[in-house]
Amino acid sequence: MSALFPLTLRDVQVRRKSKRVIGPIDLVLDPSGPTILIGPNGSGKTTLLRVLHGLERVNKGHVGWTRNDPSRHAFVFQSPIVMRRSVAENLAYPLRLLKTPKQEIKQAVDDWLQRTGLTAVRNSPAPRLSGGERQKLAIARALIRKPDVLFLDEPCANLDGYATREIEALLHEAAANGTHLIMATHDMGQARRLAHGLLFMLDGKIHEVGSAADLFAAPSTDELLAFLRGDIVI
């Protein structure tokens, strides 16, 4: 898929104030499509994503990318972080950091404004956008650098169906263009629509891992079966 993979996690553990948040996790990830993390609240999905992206340090173990290049990663947070700038300036920001020529920045910004349907608000202050628009902007800003891997932490939480559909369209397009998606979600419908590979997390550990088609059709543990049924799993 990408030169960054396979990704290997060996005995990865994260602790906060002596409380185990995730781990121990041993995992080899060499995906050929979007990978979705599912699991109940507090199961460690967000922490695992942050560890993979390098936002969180591990207390024990090792995270090994085949080629470690953080500039080829991007992250979309559950609560989209928008800068106190206009929409267009938000999009231009990651490219400015890379000292991309002005003309290329303008073209890329115009292109992404059009793809996200944000052209009409290009000069509006980004903090004034609606929740769905802010999330689209955050995804576009993450994708404008054409990352190899895009981490998404419940990007459609609190969004309505229309906004969710627009964001999923952007994600499908990104995946088709070669960006590997690793996404945490609570939305089982979304997981079924997007997932190629599936990771089920429970109590800070990877409880089940496999292809989405197999795990949705025949979960091999009672916990995943219960979770997929909508039962409360602790």
Partner: protein, 234 residues
């Protein structure tokens, strides 16, 4: 009550008759204060921003020290600067005592902690908002600081205006290091102190009203030029 009315009338006449001495004193007040403001901002804004983004061993102590220096007694600052610049002092050779430059130095010492402390507060809040995004974009420390200063520029303007307010109304330090010499180091505050000492309360009040008017005009001008209240801004 009559004295306040007399003061208002005196201020009115001084302004409408284009009193040469008043203009001279007012322009000197502005020149000294604005120069001190620019120098202090150039020192204090990067310092406040650095303290917001960088963790180091004596960071808390440094922040506490700057906060404590916000309340530096101007007469003490004036006395210290006087000793440093007097003939027997380490910088006596520069012959700066009783010059506008000495007044600028004293004002820089007085207002730098004010600007640094307020800048640090606002940069700390912005850093908390931007932290994950700027780390995930793999920014350098320098890029982070520049981004925070640019996006927080309106808050920083408030910090600078607080410094301006402290400097334009300062009398103790500028009196000591400037000497209140007519046509050389006399500014509005020292002129007010002089006229009060002479018992000419109407003129002192008149100069006081001019000082207040000047402070309001400068604040309005800076707000207008920076368009802080423009609709669509944040």
């Amino acid at each position: 009550m009559f004295e306040i009315w007399d003061g208002l009338m005196a201020a009115f006449w001084l302004v409408v008759t284009f009193d040469a001495a008043l203009w001279d004193i007012s322009l000197r007040s502005l020149r000294v204060t604005l120069t001190a403001l620019v120098i202090a901002s150039a020192i204090a804004i990067p310092l406040g921003t650095y303290l917001a983004v960088q963790r180091f061993r004596y960071r808390r102590f440094t922040i506490s020290l700057i906060n404590a220096f916000m309340g530096l007694p101007p007469v003490v600052v004036g006395l210290i600067v006087y000793i440093m610049l007097s003939r027997a002092g380490p910088f006596g050779v520069l012959n700066l005592l009783f010059t506008p430059t000495a007044m600028i130095i004293a004002q820089v010492v007085i207002i730098s902690p004010v600007i640094a402390s307020i800048a640090h507060q606002s940069m700390r809040e912005l850093w908390a908002e931007y932290h994950d995004l700027l780390i995930s974009l793999n920014t350098s420390k320098w890029q982070r600081m520049l981004t925070l200063v640019w996006d927080g520029r309106r808050n920083l303007l408030t910090a600078a205006l607080a410094g301006f307010g402290r400097a334009i109304g300062e009398v103790g330090a500028v009196m000591i290091v400037g000497g209140n010499i007519d046509n050389v180091t006399r500014v509005l505050t020292t002129a007010i102190a002089l006229e009060t000492g002479k018992g000419d309360f109407a003129l002192a009040l008149g100069l006081g009203f001019v000082l207040i008017g000047l402070a309001i005009i400068v604040n309005l001008a800076i707000h207008t030029l920076s368009r802080t209240e423009r609709e669509g801004r944040w």
